[in-house]
């Protein structure tokens, strides 16, 4: 299942091979130009042969036209290969990210995942494009020029044999120093970026504590570090062009000196010397292009590695080959057997040794303090996380043996923080059941106490929800996400503190509506004892452990923790 980044070039192999080939053909044509010039000098000018001069000029025009055609073809294939690669890679990467479990995503972090799909993918695409166009061409031109030099004059060409290894070493050493350096510069820049972002998000707290001065100081030292890294990497990378320039031109001097001696012996003509000098300049021009490319390529490699790391992350939850689509005991809606959950390795468990069972149609409340594990418990049921030990079963079947999609289809899960997506209200509700008609949507909205405000909006069901639902109030978002869950007529409905932004009267009406839906198991997580009083049973959690399970009256009579919670909310009303 694991995918190698390189495999995405499949399907564009033809383009990926043809682009450099055409590029090489173009380079070959370019390498022929100095030969034509040499012949123009030695055979044309030296013998006063005007016809030969014209022929050579014509040859140069033909070479240029062929070169243009070859190069345009190469650019087209390179662009196709690079975009095609990026398109396939992004699609697979998106699929892979979606297949990761919640704990995988928590570990990597959403901002990182988003960056992989956007910036990093773009950099890789750009890198491949440049690589196909130039990276193959440059060594070819360098070595090709040397080979051609040998065909012109094998003795003088020895200079090339000496210069090329020297140049390769220089380029290699500079790259070896600057590529990792570049990564550190990027890291320092990220620091500058995140401090600015943080300064904005925490502006009230920072100003309340009068931290402006110390923030400025810290930012100043971030900047100083960035500048220091930039300067020290710049000192080395600034060597690239001057060094290659001086090496090649000194080689020209040597070439001339050597050529001078061989000319004296009558072994070479001036046209040939001109050709050799031209080959040297071609090498120089190519190396300058290469130097400009190094940053693009090294960034692409760094991004490619980061993307590969995501592909290498195996989803920690996958369907078993014999995964079931049906439970074995529909009457036992949910069962926890000695289930524990630890999020951070090395940290303490958020849930420990939880056991209980819920019958079909029961109304269950879960109550407990901050950090008592209420949400952790609820999120084990639709298998957002796997229990670290023990088992959780739905309809009598261990959730790990369910087909995930079938399991989640039976469950309506409403999160604490209501998440809506850009689109119409109807689009958002239809997530619950793609085949539902408007009547069903309206019925769900009515049950969720959302119908009235939806109809008051211009466009009703067709009115737009902005990204993240930011044009709706918190209470409206919560009610829409409840409607979305109700539309699928789930056999288990989980409300994770999902009516906290509703006023008491609306919440009471909502509870009444849900009460009328027979056969549906409802699990309500809340901090308010008042919201849970009418539940069949209430699970009281503290520090990740079940303290007691019972009805409101039972708990009020025997559970000290529940009494405390109740009293803290109703004061002397007991």
């Amino acid at each position: 299942m694991q995918q190698r980044l390189a495999s995405f070039i499949r399907g564009y192999r033809k383009e990926a091979v043809l682009a450099p080939l055409f590029k090489l053909f173009e380079a070959l044509l370019e390498l022929a130009v100095p030969l034509a010039v040499a012949s123009l000098i030695d055979d044309g000018i030296a013998r006063g042969d005007m016809h030969h001069v014209l022929m050579m000029a014509l040859l140069m025009v033909v070479l240029a036209m062929l070169g243009l055609a070859a190069s345009v073809t190469a650019q087209y294939f390179a662009a196709r290969a690079a975009t095609g690669f990026a398109e396939k890679m992004k699609s697979a990467l998106y699929r892979h990210i979606v297949s990761l479990s919640a704990s995988d995503r928590d570990r990597i972090g959403n901002p990182a995942l988003i960056t992989r799909l956007t910036n990093d993918s773009n950099l890789v695409q750009n890198g491949i494009n440049m690589f196909l166009r130039l990276f193959m061409r440059s060594p070819f031109v360098v070595f090709g020029a040397a080979v051609m030099a040998f065909t012109v004059d094998s003795h003088l060409a020895a200079v090339f044999a000496l210069v090329i290894p020297v140049l390769s070493i220089v380029v290699f050493l500079i790259m070896r120093y600057t590529v990792p350096m570049y990564r550190r510069v990027q890291g320092a820049l990220d620091k500058v970026l995140s401090r600015t972002r943080e300064n904005l998000s925490g502006v009230r707290v920072l100003r309340a504590f009068g931290k402006e001065g110390s923030e400025e100081e810290a930012f100043g030292s971030d900047l100083a570090r960035l500048q220091e890294l930039q300067l020290s990497s710049g000192r080395i990378s600034a060597l690239m062009n001057p060094l290659t320039y001086v090496i090649i031109n000194l080689a020209v001097v040597v070439l001339m000196d050597y050529g001078h001696r061989r000319y004296g012996l009558g072994l070479i003509e001036t046209g040939a010397i001109v050709a050799l000098v031209n080959y040297m300049s071609q090498i120089l021009a190519e190396l300058i292009k290469l130097a400009n490319l190094i940053i693009t390529i090294s960034r692409a490699i760094a991004s490619g590695r980061r993307i590969q790391a995501i592909f290498d992350t195996e989803p920690s939850m996958v369907d078993a080959p014999d995964a079931a689509e049906e439970g074995t005991d529909p009457d036992e809606a949910v069962r926890f057997e000695d289930a524990s959950l630890t999020y951070r390795s090395g940290g303490e468990p958020s849930l420990s040794h939880i056991s209980f069972s819920i019958r079909r149609g029961e109304r269950i409340g879960i109550i407990g303090g901050t950090g008592s594990g209420k949400t952790s418990l609820a999120s084990l049921i639709p298998r957002f996380y796997d229990a670290s030990s023990g088992t959780v079963s739905v309809d009598g079947l261990d959730v790990r043996r369910w087909k995930m999609e079938a399991l989640r289809r039976r469950i309506g899960y409403v999160q604490q923080k209501a998440v809506l997506f850009k689109g119409t209200i109807r689009d958002n509700i239809l997530w619950g059941d793609r085949n539902a008609d408007d009547d069903a949507v309206c019925a769900a909205l009515k049950a969720a106490e959302a119908y009235d405000f939806v109809m008051e909006r211009k466009g009703g069901l067709d009115s737009m929800v902005e990204e993240g639902g930011k044009n709706l109030s918190g209470g409206q978002r919560q009610r829409l996400s409840i409607a979305r869950a109700l539309l699928r007529r789930p056999s288990i409905l989980i409300l994770d503190d999902s009516s906290s932004a509703l006023d008491y009267a609306t919440e009471a009406r909502l509870r009444h509506n849900l009460g009328a839906m027979a056969g549906m198991t409802v699990i309500t997580v809340s901090q308010r004892a008042g919201s849970l009083m009418t539940m069949d049973r209430i699970i009281v959690l503290d520090g990740g452990k079940t303290v007691d399970i019972g009805s409101h009256e039972e708990l009020l009579a025997r559970c000290p923790l529940y009494q405390e919670i109740y009293q803290s909310q109703f004061g002397g009303a007991v």
């Binding site: 130009v33 025009v61 240029a64 990026a86 992004k90 820049l189 500058v192 001036t270 940290g347």
Partner: protein, 578 residues
């Protein structure tokens, strides 16, 4: 025309930023000049040396070789000097701009920060600065060397042979026209590409942030289809944009080859007619081969230049935003009793929509004042005014008889301990976060504050305890725990007055009761302002202000308000009949 004016003004301001780097800039430009001229001499010397070979003049030849070596060396050295100087200028200027922008940010009023997207401000400080320093300054030196090279090449060619040089001059515009033609074509494609990319990015943002909802509703396949649609639309534009933009090089290279051929042909004819030597032809050919390159670079520089000017304009617009008035001259405030007086205060965020019209209260030292009311009624605004995050439009707020605008902001804010509903953690360790208000606090003091907020066992459960690095979007820290950390922060800072805006909204009521005692001790004898949703928590306040639509509609103690049977009594009973 006005745009041109604006660009000119922006450009002049950039030049003013360069003033401290004057010496470096002069160094860079003179090094650029020397290395360009010296590199231009090289082909001429090579040509002369070839002729010397043909003439068999050994002494001249050796001298020419020495000159060639010297020219190559000088070019390299001055190129390096230029590069180093440029790096210095670019990095210093971007550091300077960023430093200024950040300091400016510390002095901008909250009204600016609240009303502008943070992503946009960040991108001005980070991306636009890079664009200016890279694009503009590097562009500037590239332009400079490019122009010198073109002029120098022309002069050299005319010196060698004016007929051949004339051929080159005639063909030149062809190269410029084709380059600008392609650039014009690709611009609109690039625009479409970045539009398609924007659509894709926001889809990715949404779906990854809401990934658990996506999987809860089994929308994976359908979203994959939508993603693939968006993706292939983007790929279509991307292919065209990449392809067309990559045409510039082959096409200009082609034009260059034609120039080269023209030089070779006309040079050969001149040579056969005896008006030019082979060496001269060799050097003029080598000029011709490098002649059009600067044109390509310059056309690239012009685009970069435009972008850089646009970025610079964005930065300057940000730097020109009005800062809060400098209060360096105002006396710093020190709290003596904590009496707070508001007289006829009026305020609005938007002049068309008055929010607070005429607000007056008198709070005696040590009083606990609760502010209650429906959402949007102006509770948080009162806190913004007390902390001087915003200043009132009319009226006066005075503490211990001193008007809050007559003293330094920072000293005033230090007297308040503030806990907000939207808690915020700074990227750093738990210890740093608790000690934010008092960085010099000892470990024992930090631990004591944490334990009073019942955080000890939570902190102990973290892999690195007090040294665990957290940030505002850390997983595994609940909203309630974040709020407890913010309370611990204030407890440690031990301020003279308190502002609690829904400070315990995410904390369960039992923990709230447990830390209540610590809270009460903190509030004892200190003036406190409390905004709360849960009315049960503020029953014991000395004064309850019921705010609606920016006005105080009722005020008094809990008992008095309940007895009056007004708005408050209605709100209170609705919370307890469910």
């Amino acid at each position: 025309m006005r745009r041109m004016e604006g660009q000119k003004e922006t450009f002049l301001r950039i030049l003013s930023l360069l003033r401290p780097c004057r010496a470096m800039l002069a160094l860079s430009l003179s090094a650029a000049f020397i290395s360009s001229v010296s590199s231009l001499l090289f082909p001429m010397l090579t040509g002369a040396a070839i002729d010397a070979i043909a003439d068999g003049d050994g002494a001249v030849f050796i001298r020419l070789l020495a000159l060639m070596a010297a020219s190559a060396g000088a070019t390299a050295v001055f190129q390096y000097v230029m590069n180093a100087a440029n790096n210095h200028i670019v990095y210093s200027v971007s550091k300077e701009i960023r430093g200024r922008a950040f300091s400016h940010l510390q002095r901008l009023p909250l009204s600016y920060i609240d009303s502008h997207p943070h992503g946009d401000i960040v991108s001005r400080v980070v991306n636009d600065t890079d664009q200016v320093s890279d694009g503009l300054l590097l562009g500037f030196t590239q332009l400079f060397t490019g122009v010198i090279t073109i002029l120098g090449t022309l002069i050299c060619m005319f010196l060698v042979n004016w007929i051949v040089a004339l051929v080159v001059v005639v063909v030149t515009p062809l190269s410029i026209f084709t380059a600008s033609f392609i650039a014009g074509k690709t611009f609109s494609l690039f625009y479409k590409q970045s539009e398609a990319r924007g659509v894709q990015t926001s889809f990715i943002n949404e779906m990854i942030t809401g990934a658990s909802v996506v999987s809860a509703y089994g929308m994976e396949e359908e979203n994959q289809r939508r993603f693939d649609d968006i993706n292939s639309r983007w790929a279509g534009f991307s292919l065209l944009a990449t392809f067309y933009s990559s045409l510039t090089n082959p096409v200009t290279r082609f034009v260059n080859s034609l120039v080269y051929m023209g030089v070779a042909l006309s040079g050969a004819i001149s040579a056969i007619m005896g008006v030019m030597t082979v060496g001269a032809l060799a050097s003029i050919l080598s000029y011709a081969s490098q002649y059009t390159k600067p044109f390509n670079e310059i056309s690239g520089v012009v685009t970069e230049f435009q972008n850089a000017l646009a970025s610079a304009a964005r930065i300057f617009a940000f730097l020109d935003e009005k800062e809060e008035e400098d209060e360096g001259a105002l006396p710093s405030f020190s709290l003596s009793h904590g009496a707070v007086e508001a007289e006829h205060v009026s305020f609005s965020y938007n002049p068309d929509k008055p929010l607070i019209k005429d607000f007056s209260i008198s709070v005696r030292p040590g009083m606990h004042v609760a502010i209650v009311g429906p959402t949007g009624s102006g509770k948080t605004t009162l806190i913004n005014l007390l902390m001087r995050f915003y200043d009132p439009v009319g009226g006066v707020i005075a503490i211990d008889g001193q008007s809050t605008v007559s003293v330094g902001r920072t000293s005033l804010r230090r007297c308040f301990g503030m806990v907000l509903q939207d808690t915020w953690l700074k990227t750093g360790t738990i210890r740093e976060n608790i000690a934010l208000g008092r960085p010099d606090a000892t470990d024992e003091e930090v631990r004591a504050a944490a334990s009073r907020c019942h955080l000890s066992s939570f902190i102990a459960s973290l892999p690195s305890g007090y040294d665990e690095v957290v940030s505002d979007d850390s997983d595994g820290i609940s909203a309630g725990q974040k709020q407890l950390l913010s309370i611990a922060r204030v407890m440690l800072a031990d301020p003279g007055m308190l502002i609690l805006d829904e400070a315990t909204s995410s904390i369960d009521t039992r923990t709230e009761m447990v830390i209540q005692e610590a809270f009460m001790r903190l509030m004892e004898g200190r003036t406190a302002f409390i905004v709360a949703h849960r009315l049960s928590t503020i029953r014991n306040s000395d004064l309850i202000l019921v705010v609606k639509d920016g006005d105080v509609i009722e005020s008094g103690t809990h008992q008095a308000l309940m007895a009056a049977g007004g708005f408050y009594a209605g709100m209170y009973s609705s919370q307890f009949t469910s």
